[in-house]
Symmetry: C2
Subunit: 251 residues, 2 copies
């Protein structure tokens, strides 16, 4: 299929969505030409759809004529139950965890076959890791990811286990070993990683439950788990219960 | 025009937008039938479009099959320069203001011809007012609104001045008087209201500038401005400068 045909065959919804997807933290303001280039739409289609979104409030025009995400998108996005509400409820608990452990603290939810980081507190003495707020990392190589994967539906587990890319020399890439780790995570109530995502960084994570459902994972990253594991697991479990209880109360 | 014709004549963008608009803080989860009823779309159209949005991540299916706003909307909404970034930068300053004054503190931006409240801290001893985070109030009857209107383009001012609904007995409904107040707000650097939106509540507000541009207004609400105005204006101006400087640094 030629590019022009593919473009004209795209649904309008997919074009609207492509326009919104064009905006990123590093490119929050885009000109019409940049929008067209980023989406593969013609300038006239990009112009028409962008102006419909401006009319609605989902996009705004900036001082220099560039487009940017509008207040209406912020307003609607704030309604995502796994977004702002979860973050607001968890943040004070994460701060307490950070004060108590001086470790980096992570809160993630499962987004398809990836861990999506809702919030992160970086400890100044904690090892450098690749997570960032709003970022995604593989489920099989992170502590929060293993917890989320352990509680995911079988079809999600199967999809992830079918492809376990090696990230460091210590990444678990054998499906059988990972399956045993996931079963242990369910049984013991926590999961760990040892330099599987970033060299020099180990992690331990526990599920956050709203009622019986696992809705998120709370984890911390430290240079080593050798001595501190029981203490860290206990702190995480108390914290995760606090988040879960407050989630039940607010939503 | 018959309803069916009107519906079929709507652009796809407007239908997608109507689906997203159907979700509100009080109705964050909607069934397919509720979505169809809220949007005026047929069930099959609502189903097709909602599933396209689920595929993208802008909507999610909940445990009970209901639709809710998805992580992708939260992620994109957080890019709104006048939303999360402004709120995050202003919130500590607003908390300081609240501690210093025990008044309710408001942060608003202009959304068309209305004031949109980005954040609000309600003082326990402050008068009850009608603002709420994420809510909209008229520009001509609120302190933050008068500041935003005073710095709005002439066509916005003309549109607002053409229709000044009376909200209390003290609302300014004469265009000439409001024009003079707006000119004074620009000259003096602050605007006030006296029971113009809510009886028993007075407000004073100042502009928040990012470089030369007025991007928001910061205001406080108190029972009376008679004694405290100079002190409150000084506190607001220091705070607004702090917000503006930090906005320049982050964005």
């Amino acid at each position: 299929v030629a590019p022009a045909q593919r473009t004209s065959g795209r649904s309008v919804t997919s074009k609207v969505v492509a326009l919104l997807d064009a905006f990123t933290p590093t490119e929050p303001v885009l000109s019409l030409n940049e929008l067209a280039a980023a989406t593969g739409l013609t300038t006239s289609t990009a112009h028409r759809l962008a102006n419909e979104l401006v009319e609605w409030g989902g996009l705004e025009r900036g001082e220099n004529g560039g487009y940017r995400i509008g207040l209406r998108m912020w307003e609607i996005g704030a309604l995502a139950p796994r977004g702002e509400n979860l973050r607001a409820v968890a943040l004070p608990v994460m701060q307490d965890l950070y004060e108590a452990t001086q470790a980096s603290v992570h809160l993630a939810v499962r987004d398809g076959t990836e861990a999506f980081y809702i919030e992160k507190i970086h400890g100044p003495r904690a090892p450098r890791v690749r997570s960032r707020r709003g970022g995604r990392l593989p489920l099989h190589a992170t502590g929060v990811g293993k917890v989320l994967l352990a509680h995911a539906p079988p079809e999600v587990q199967a999809a992830v286990l079918a492809d376990l890319p090696r990230i460091t020399a210590y990444t678990v890439t054998q499906p059988g070993l990972l399956r045993r780790q996931l079963a242990r995570a369910v049984r013991d109530g926590y999961a760990t990683t040892t330099e599987e995502m970033s060299l020099g960084a180990c992690s331990v994570a526990v599920p956050v439950r709203s009622g019986p459902r696992v809705v998120a994972a709370l984890g911390i990253v430290v240079p080593s788990l050798r001595k501190d594991r029981p203490r860290l697991v206990a702190a995480l479990q108390v914290s995760a219960r606090g988040v879960g209880r407050r989630l039940g109360a607010t939503g």
